[in-house]
Amino acid sequence: MSDRDKTEDDTMRQMFDAWEKGQETFLKAQSAAMDTFAKSFENMPNFSENMQKDEAFPAWDSFIKAWVPDWDPNVFTSKSSDMAADFTKTNNAFLAMLEPANWSKFAPAQLRVILQSIADGPKFADLATPQHEAAGTWRETLDYSQAAADMGKVMQEAWVRTYGRFNENYSIEDLKSSEPSDALNAWLEAANHELLETQRSLEFMDAQKRMIRASTEIKARQKDLAEAWSEMYQMPTRTEVEDLTKTVHELRRELRKVKRELQSLKAGM
C-alpha cells in the first residue's frame, strides 16, 4: 500500500468513525427523548367519548401546563368561543391542538416578534433567503387575523349594547299594544343608534385603521408575488408598467408646459 493509499484509507476510517459516533449519539439522544415523551404521556388525559364535557377542558389545560408551564391556554378561550368548543369535543381535542391553523391566528405576541425578526434579519448576497419572505407573509397574515378579531370584538360589543338598548326601550307590553312592525322599528332604531355611536369611537377607528393596514399589507405581498411570477415568465411586471406610465405622464406634462411657453412667446411677438 502506497503512502498515498494509506493516507486515504486513514481519512475514510476517520470519516466512518465520526459518522458511527454521530449515529450512536443521535440514537442515545432519541432514546432519552422517547423516555421523556413516554413519561409525559403517562399523564395524558383520556379524551374518550365517556369523558364529561366539563372535565375535558380542565384535563387538557393541566396536560398542556405539564409540558409548557408558562403557556396560558386561556389565549384560546379569550379569543374564540369556537376554540373552546373544539377542545370540549373530547376525542377531537388533541388533534385540534396540533393543528396550526387552529392556534397560529391567535398566536401570542412572541411569535409575531420572532417572525418579524426573521423578516427583518440580514440578507446574504449569494444565498437565497426565502425564509424572509415566508416569515413576512406569516406575520402579515397573523396581523390581519388579529385585526379582524379586534374589529369583530368592537362590533360584537356594539350588538350586545343594541340588545340591551332594545330591551330597555321595548317590552312585551309594547308589542301587545302596537303593531309588530313597531318592534322591528324599535330594534332598527336601537341598532342604528349603537352602530353610529360605535363608529364615532376611538376603539372602532383604531380597529378600522389596523384592518386597513393589515389588509393592504397582504395586498402588497400579493403584488410582490405576482411580480416574481411575471419575472419568471419573462412578462413585464406591474412596477415596470407603472414606471413607464409615470415617464409618459411626466413627458406629457413637460410638453404641455413647452406648448404654453411657445404660445405666450408668440403672443408677445
Partner: protein, 398 residues
C-alpha cells in the same frame, strides 16, 4: 315573603303565555312581510338591467381631452341668451349621471327647461394608466380646458360653473385660479374646510372626516401605493358603512316595503345602478384629496398648490351660491359653509336643503328647492327678473 309553589307555577305559566303571544304576533308580521317580499321579487324577476335607464336626456360630445368628455345638452326650450352657459362638474367618486337620474328627477332637465345652455363634464373611467393624474390635471388641465372651450364658444365671455361634491372643490379651486373665466359659481354639497366643526357634529355626521383624520399619512400612502388607485369598491364600501342600518336593510326590509310598486322599484333600481357604477379614483389625486385636504386641510389654510401656485379662495370674484344638505352624512354642513369666510358677503348666498347628500339631486323635494333656487339665483344675478316666475312654473311641470 315566601313565594308558594303555586305562585311560581303561575309566574312560569304567565311567561310562557306571553312568549306564545309574542311569537304569534311576530309570525303574523313575518307572513305579511313575506307576502310583500314575494310581490317585490315578482317585479325583480320580470325586469332586466337594460330596462333600468338613467341619464337619458339627449346630448352631444363637443370636446374631449384624454378620457374626459364635455357633453353639450340639446335644448328642451328656447335658450336664454341673457344667461351665460353653465358647465356642471361632478366629482371622481361617482358619476355625473346622478344629476339626470330620471325624467321627473333631473337637474339637467330642470335647467334645460329654464332655458339654460347646459354642458356637463364626464371624467370617463380612469384606470391604473391614469394613476399619476393629480389636481393639476383635473383642475387646471381638464376642467380648465372644458371651461375654456365653453368660454370660446360664448364669444370669450365668462361662463357659469356648477361643481358638485369633489367637483365643487375642483370648481372653487379653478374659480380662484382663473377668476376671469367666470360669471358665476354654484357649488353643491362641497367640502371646503375639510375638518369642519367637529365638536358639534351630530351623530352620524363627519365620519369620513374623523376616520381619515385617524389614519396616518403612511397609512394612506400604503393604500395608494399598493392599489395604484383608490378602488371604487373600497370607496363604495366606505360610503355604505356611513349609514350602516340603511345599507343593511335596503335589500330586505326596504324591498319588501315597496310591495312590488313599479314606480318605487324603478326609482330604487335607478339609484342602485348609479351607485354600482363607481369608478376608481386616480391615485395621486386621491393622495392629495386624503392627505393634503382631509388630513392637513390645506385649502382653507392657503397651502394647497395647483400648477405651482397656492390657491387663495378669496380670489373668487364672481357671485357664488353654495347649496348644502342639512342631513348630509358625507360632507358636514360646517365643511361646506366655510366658503362664506372667503367670499365677500355681497357675492355670497346659501341654500340649506332639508335632506341628505344625494337627496339634494334625486329626491322629489329637491326638484323644487334646489333646482328652482339655483335657477332663480342665476336669473336674478345675470338675467331678466321678469322671467323668474315663469321659470319656476316650468320646473313644476317637468
Amino acid at each position: 315573603m315566601k313565594v308558594t309553589e303555586a305562585e311560581t307555577d303561575q309566574k312560569l305559566f304567565d311567561e310562557i303565555e306571553a312568549a306564545q303571544e309574542a311569537w304569534s304576533l311576530v309570525w303574523q308580521h313575518m307572513l305579511k312581510t313575506g307576502e310583500q317580499m314575494v310581490k317585490s321579487n315578482g317585479f325583480l324577476g320580470k325586469i332586466k338591467n337594460e330596462d333600468v335607464e338613467i341619464a337619458e336626456t339627449p346630448s352631444d360630445v363637443v370636446f374631449e381631452i384624454d378620457k374626459v368628455r364635455l357633453f353639450h345638452y340639446r335644448p328642451l326650450t328656447k335658450i336664454r341668451t341673457d344667461i351665460p352657459p353653465m358647465i356642471i362638474c361632478y366629482g371622481l367618486f361617482g358619476r355625473q349621471t346622478m344629476i339626470d337620474l330620471q325624467e321627473d328627477r333631473s337637474l339637467v332637465r330642470n335647467l334645460l327647461m329654464a332655458g339654460i345652455d347646459l354642458y356637463v363634464v364626464d371624467w370617463g373611467n380612469p384606470t391604473r394608466a391614469d394613476q399619476y393624474l393629480d389636481f393639476d390635471d383635473y383642475v387646471e388641465r381638464y376642467l380648465g380646458s372644458c371651461v375654456e372651450h365653453v368660454y370660446e364658444a360664448n364669444d370669450k365671455k365668462p361662463v357659469n360653473l356648477f361643481g358638485i361634491c369633489e367637483g365643487g372643490t375642483f370648481a372653487a379651486m379653478l374659480a380662484a385660479f382663473r377668476p376671469e373665466l367666470f360669471a358665476g359659481l354654484a357649488l353643491a354639497i362641497t367640502p371646503i374646510d375639510f375638518h369642519g366643526d367637529q365638536e358639534n357634529f351630530w351623530r352620524g355626521e363627519g365620519f369620513l372626516n374623523s376616520w381619515i383624520g385617524n389614519l396616518t399619512q403612511d397609512d394612506i400612502n400604503l393604500v395608494i401605493d399598493t392599489h395604484g388607485m383608490l378602488p371604487g369598491e373600497m370607496t363604495g364600501a366606505i360610503f355604505s358603512s356611513l349609514t350602516p342600518i340603511a345599507s343593511m336593510t335596503k335589500y330586505n326590509i326596504g324591498l319588501a316595503k315597496m310591495e312590488g310598486n313599479e314606480a318605487m322599484m324603478l326609482n330604487f333600481l335607478r339609484m342602485e345602478k348609479w351607485i354600482a357604477d363607481r369608478p376608481d379614483h386616480p391615485g395621486e389625486a386621491a393622495r392629495q384629496w386624503l392627505n393634503g385636504l382631509y388630513r392637513e386641510n390645506q385649502l382653507v389654510n392657503g397651502e394647497f398648490i395647483i400648477c405651482g401656485e397656492k390657491i387663495d379662495l378669496s380670489k373668487i370674484n364672481c357671485p357664488v351660491i353654495n347649496i348644502y344638505a342639512e342631513q348630509d352624512h358625507i360632507i358636514p354642513v360646517s365643511c361646506s359653509k366655510a366658503l362664506s369666510k372667503f367670499v365677500p358677503k355681497k357675492n355670497y348666498e346659501e341654500i340649506g336643503f332639508p335632506g341628505g347628500h344625494v337627496g339634494v339631486f334625486v329626491s322629489r323635494k329637491a326638484q323644487g328647492v334646489v333646482a328652482s333656487g339655483l335657477i332663480e339665483w342665476v336669473i336674478r344675478k345675470q338675467g331678466s327678473k321678469a322671467k323668474v316666475k315663469q321659470v319656476k312654473k316650468s320646473i313644476r311641470k317637468v
